[in-house]
């Protein structure tokens, strides 16, 4: 295990995140001769899609599906490349000068980087329904992580709700593992099918199509599916029932576990805090970094690869990581040999084909993105949708002012679970676009560190004088 004190003072390339993009980038850069370190906060590499790939206790390959096992090669390649891979390493700070603040086992270091690739991937979109903070309500991704990394499968009365390929994949994996699912509540709006149909030909040619179709069949054969317009998690102190409206009728199902999923969105916190410019993507309904062809951001020397650059899936992520790494190699060691980026771009294009169809089909309904009333918009600070809407009505125009007024975004998650909701609520109330409204302005630490750790950082004379005066 690499300790904080084992790290060098500087590296050619720092990669943040050990998912497919990070692993592919680190491997390519290290092989091209760049001194490369990859930091990941989890006990093992793989990110989300390949979570637990080196340590999973699940031995029956059919449960998780072949796509998952493809991650093993990525992980092995990165290990063999000579890149330093550090697990349990939390990157809590990144500035435009590419100074990286990283914390390992409670000890913090500031590392200089000549280039940084942010590969922190995506997270699940917030799914603010009444009762979503009750114990017993989790994300579909959480159940998938528990399965991959710990070989845990759901038991008791489990309901899945939402939309998007991951929901169906989890359902299939759960059934194969012997888990039981009471129902799937599909929140895909009917209208999406009309918009998505235009892109159906592309999708039909893409690798997603046949995989997707067979997954759906597999799951629908065993689990009742209801198209729903509203969902509530009910219970005192923990989930006891799931209420939903389907075809105008209200129904209730007793449940022990409700798994929510309505797609994934880029995890923007580190990039945002580093000063990377973002803009609203109306098709994917989220903020994405503004990037050039090689995934370079508005901050020179900082690139964003993988799903963090915009949702495109795990295989695309690896190719993006490679393209970003090639740009870093070309900048720092132009004489080095690198794989042909053209070939990589072609692969990437094939992966991205069919994306438009999926994106349009899976755009979550407004009612599930813009809550009302007592539904919590901000889980950490327990701020309701009504509070946010009321404040927007009396003139609060943006999320940073809203944060000052209501404390939404001030909790430990730093807006990861409320940022999009708050922006969309303000946009709805003030009849503006999310692009106009903007997002929280974030700053380090993007993950908590202790006061003692912060106090241990090197302090210049000028900095000390600014305080002790």
């Amino acid at each position: 295990m690499t300790a904080a004190s084992d790290l060098a003072a500087s590296y050619d390339l720092v990669v943040v995140g050990g998912g497919p993009a990070g692993l592919a980038a680190a491997a390519l850069a290290a092989r091209a001769g760049l001194s490369t370190v990859l930091f990941d906060e989890n006990p093992g590499v793989g990110g989300q899609i390949y979570r637990g790939i080196t340590t999973t206790p699940v031995t029956d390959r059919a449960i998780l599906g072949e796509e998952y096992w493809a991650g093993a090669e990525l992980a092995a390649d990165a290990r063999a490349s000579g890149a330093l891979i550090v697990n349990g390493a939390v990157v809590w700070s990144l500035d435009p000068q590419k100074l990286v603040g990283v914390s390992i086992a409670g000890k913090t270091r500031l590392i200089e980087a000549r280039r940084v690739i942010i590969a922190t991937g995506s997270q699940e979109r917030p799914f603010p329904i009444p009762g979503w903070t009750l114990p017993g309500v989790m994300t579909a991704g959480a159940a998938q992580t528990a399965l991959k990394a710990q070989g845990l499968v759901v038991s008791g009365r489990t309901v899945l709700a939402g939309s998007g390929p991951l929901l169906w994949l989890l359902a299939a994996q759960t059934l194969r593992a012997g888990g039981r699912i009471e129902a799937i509540l599909d929140t895909t709006p009917w209208r999406n099918w009309l918009q998505a149909l235009f892109h159906l030909p592309d999708f039909a040619l893409s690798p997603y199509f046949s995989k997707g179709m067979s997954l759906l069949r597999e799951v629908k054969a065993k689990v009742p599916v209801h198209r729903v317009d509203g969902i509530e998690a009910l219970g005192k102190d923990r989930l006891q029932e799931v209420a939903f409206t389907s075809g105008g009728r209200e129904r209730r199902l007793p449940a022990d576990l409700l798994l929510l999923h309505q797609g994934v969105v880029p995890n923007v916190n580190l990039a945002n805090a580093a000063g990377v410019a973002h803009s609203w993507n109306e098709r994917q309904l989220c903020f994405v970094p503004v990037l050039d062809e090689a995934f370079g951001s508005s901050v020179p020397g900082i690139a964003v690869a993988g799903d963090g650059a915009g949702i495109a899936g795990g295989t695309a992520a690896a190719e993006r990581g490679r393209i970003a790494a090639i740009a870093a190699v070309r900048a720092l060691r132009p004489e080095a040999t690198v794989p042909d980026p053209q070939a990589i771009r072609q692969k990437l294009q094939r992966e991205e084909m069919g994306r438009a169809f999926l994106d349009l089909l899976n755009r979550p309904a407004e009612s599930f993105r813009q809550p009302v009333g007592e539904t919590l918009a901000c889980r950490c600070e327990e701020v309701t949708a009504k509070q946010v809407r009321d404040m927007a009505r009396i003139g609060c125009e943006g999320p940073n002012q809203m944060k000052a007024f209501l404390r939404c975004g001030m909790g430990p998650c730093q807006g990861r679970l409320c940022g999009l909701t708050v922006t969309e609520l303000i946009a709805a109330e003030r009849k503006r676009t999310p692009e106009e409204v903007g997002y929280y302005r974030l700053r380090p630490p993007v993950k908590p560190i202790t006061l003692a750790e912060l106090a241990s950082l090197p302090i210049s004379e000028a900095e000390r004088k600014a305080v002790e005066r």
């Binding site: 637990g52 989790m138 710990q150 923990r238 679970l417």
Partner: protein
């Protein structure tokens, strides 16, 4: 809510930790949050704002619901920390106490 797959039960050494003083069995490779879920523990903390019970939500370090006190140090993200035999985990009730 969660049970272990047959082949998963065989893999990995058994680990015993305590949660609020009571022994809980887990496997090597479990995160603290996963161990709590596998043991059927309902909630891992109550919020410092209203005291409402919360449990792990995302299991990937994003939601900060899985905050527990581990070996006397509070507000640790349980989903990022692997279990160890002898580890003392405590539910975090309300606001954390400084100095613990």
């Amino acid at each position: 809510m969660f049970k272990r797959l047959a082949d998963a039960s065989a893999a990995g050494a058994a680990v015993t930790l305590t949660v609020d003083g009571k022994p809980v069995s887990a496997r090597e490779g479990d995160t603290v949050a996963a161990a709590l879920l596998a043991a059927g523990i309902d909630h891992c903390r109550t919020t410092p704002v209203s005291g409402a019970p919360r449990a792990p939500y995302c299991l990937m370090g994003v939601c900060f619901e899985c905050l527990v006190t581990i070996d006397g140090v509070g507000s640790r993200q349980g989903c990022l920390i692997p279990v160890r035999t002898g580890m003392k985990v405590e539910t975090q009730l309300g606001k954390r106490e400084a100095g613990r």
